[in-house]
């Protein structure tokens, strides 16, 4: 039953490529879009909702609350990315066909990743996601995107080697690679120096893949130089899944030990601060959004570092919110890019009169990032700060609040520069973005606003799902 979500994209890709009938690019894009919509509604079926959060370490292929949130997020972001792909004018028809196939393969990999309960299979699916990302970034073969993809490949391969060495040592100690057996092994051998070294390697590898300090070097290049639909896809879901979701699974295995908590707290706080400072004086719109991503991922790692169930829940909620509003911001960036053909902030000014939909949704996304009530970002940040405060790490809660002020600062600067102000001469004739991009940004904006307004209902629903 759960296997369907992994097998259907595989079968779709195979069908699209047997040349029984001429599958043009429209067929491929529609197939990918329909599959993501199907997944969005399929996760609400009763079979999925009947599992509980407490089974964090169950066997084989099962779905619990965390997997459910990831599946829902994956489907939303993929749908937004496919909308941007549909309306993109710089990619040729052949490239759109390849793009849709690669997105289907990547979704199959991510769906598989959130289901498995076995550390070696995690490696296999992470590699699938990474391989499709390398090709997706380099798809339009410009100079910058090839270089960015190559840098990402090198750093991601180093991270993979570190993860694999940790898996080898853990396998030797535990005799099997399932989560349950590795968790039992931790109770017995938790303080062995070799096992501690393996744990450090694993977490370092995952930090590289997730873009947490101090290994965030590849992130601004990869987000900034990728083609537009890839940026939406990559920023929205790929880094979160391979980095953060795997961290929470490992966290459950390592039994919430104290030293791992300290590592998460320290590096999360560093990420928040460095990301916030890095975003302030950036000239390129997409690179500024990439530094903001580093900052928000730092918030999620801080939430996990608090060590309580509430911290984990707040972290997952912030992951969902961040995926949605970051994807919304990247969709708007691609709208601006497709109309103005530029990404430099200095050249943009006063766009709100010509592109009303883009500027309104951008304002809502910025406010949600900064944590202004009643939007979704406010609730998740509040829960993170509460979780940090009540678990005794008060200084980190203070850091989180101060960094939130920094976030508001740079976003207000950005907002004023890009959307308000006087319109430049040469921009008098630009129109609003194409219909598909407008639809995607309105859809994501609606999700942000609804999540924020109806938050108590969502809390009840999540509580039922997580059964706390």
């Amino acid at each position: 039953m759960f296997l369907l979500l992994v097998l259907i994209p595989l079968i779709l890709v195979l069908l699209l490529n047997i040349n029984l009938y001429k599958a043009g690019q429209k067929t491929a894009v529609f197939a990918a879009g329909l599959f993501s919509l199907f997944q969005m509604f399929f996760v609400f079926s009763p079979k999925f909702l009947s599992t509980s959060f407490a089974d964090m370490l169950s066997l084989k292929f099962e779905c619990d609350g965390i997997s459910w949130i990831m599946l829902f997020t994956i489907s939303i972001i993929s749908f937004a990315s496919i909308c941007v792909l549909y309306a993109s004018e710089t990619l040729s028809s052949r490239k759109k066909f390849n793009f849709a196939n690669l997105i289907l393969l990547s979704m199959a990999g991510m769906n598989g990743l959130v289901f498995v309960r076995d550390i070696f299979s995690i490696y296999v699916f992470i590699e699938i996601i990474a391989a499709t990302s390398y090709v997706l970034i380099a798809l339009d073969k410009t100079k910058k995107s090839l270089e960015a993809s190559f840098k990402y490949l090198v750093l991601s391969s180093v991270a993979t080697v570190m993860m694999l060495s940790a898996i080898a040592v853990l396998f030797m100690a535990a005799g099997s690679t399932e989560f349950v057996k590795v968790a039992e092994m931790y109770k017995q051998y938790g303080t062995n120096p070799l096992i501690i070294a393996a744990t450090i390697f694993f977490i370092a590898g995952l930090f590289i893949k997730g873009g947490v300090m101090p290994f965030h070097g590849w992130l601004p290049d990869a987000y900034g130089a990728a083609p537009n639909p890839t940026s939406v896809f990559l920023a929205g879901i790929v880094t979160k899944t391979t980095g953060i979701y795997t961290l929470i699974r490992l966290y459950a295995i390592f039994d919430f030990s104290y030293s791992v908590q300290m590592v998460f707290l320290v590096f999360g706080a560093l990420s928040v601060i460095v990301g916030a400072f890095g975003a302030i004086n950036q000239n390129n719109f997409k690179r500024m959004l990439a530094y903001s991503s580093i900052s928000q991922v730092g918030y999620i790692v801080l939430a996990f570092g608090s060590g309580t169930i509430m911290g984990v829940f707040a972290g997952m909620l912030h992951l969902f919110n961040h995926s949605v509003f970051k994807a919304l911001l990247f969709v708007n960036a691609s709208a601006i890019d497709s109309e103005l053909k530029t990404n430099e902030i200095d050249k943009m000014a006063g766009l709100s009169s010509q592109m009303p939909v883009t500027s309104t949704t951008s304002i809502i996304a910025f406010l949600s990032t900064a944590g202004i009530p009643p939007l979704a970002g406010f609730w998740s940040k509040l829960l993170i700060i509460i979780a940090l405060w009540f678990s005794g790490n008060r200084e980190f809660a203070v850091v989180a609040i101060l960094a939130s002020v920094l976030t508001i600062t740079y976003f207000l600067i950005m907002q004023k520069k890009v959307f308000f102000g006087k319109l430049k001469e040469k921009f008098y004739t630009i129109k609003e973005a194409p219909f598909a991009i407008r639809f995607a940004s309105l859809f994501l904006c609606a999700i942000t606003v609804l999540t924020g307004l109806f938050f108590p209902l969502i809390l009840n629903f999540m509580g039922f799902l997580f059964s706390f």
Binding site: L105, G109, D118, G175
Partner: protein
């Protein structure tokens, strides 16, 4: 003790070949030495009771990967020897690398002095009746098969995307 000497000798060969493979001057020699590293690693795998992995490693890594490297190097014109001389690496990075190697060797020598056998984490109750043949293993790991199919499809798409000249290229 015979076994130990053979292992030491093979590992020494692996390390020496890999050092030569990275400190190359002409990069084609680096690729061929990488094939040599694969060959020695495959012999070690055979001695560590992993015969099928050794065969696979020999045929794929020492064969296919070396061919891929040499074809890449031939297609992209490598710089001439004078240009290579200009690309010398700086002293700082060499010093950092040397220090890290000395650090790792120091840690290893410290570990070697450890006489405690319980230091190594190994499963205490190893069940010997678990699996005998490799075929029964693949009955356990269906998920990996799906993963492999997905990654092979990705490889096919990568070749299609990256290697074909599009119609709108210069």
């Amino acid at each position: 003790m015979e076994n130990l000497y053979i292992h030491i000798f093979l590992l020494f060969l692996v390390v020496i070949t890999s050092v030569f493979a990275v400190s190359h001057f002409r990069i084609i020699r680096g690729a061929i030495l990488l094939g040599g590293v694969s060959f020695f690693v495959s012999i070690i795998l055979f001695m560590l009771k992993a015969p099928m992995a050794a065969m696979f490693e020999l045929s794929v890594c020492a064969g296919l990967i070396t061919v891929i490297f040499i074809s890449v190097i031939s297609i992209t014109n490598p710089p001439y020897i004078d240009q290579r001389k200009q690309n010398r690496i700086s002293m700082w990075k060499k010093i950092v690398a040397l220090l890290s190697i000395i650090l790792v060797c120091g840690v290893c020598i410290y570990i070697i002095d450890e006489k405690n056998i319980a230091f190594i984490p190994v499963m205490k109750n190893a069940s010997a009746a678990a699996m005998t043949t490799k075929d029964s293993i693949w009955n356990m790991r269906h998920v990996d098969l799906i993963g492999q199919a997905l990654i092979l499809l990705t490889g096919i798409f990568a070749v299609v995307v990256l290697f074909k000249k599009g119609k709108d290229e210069k």
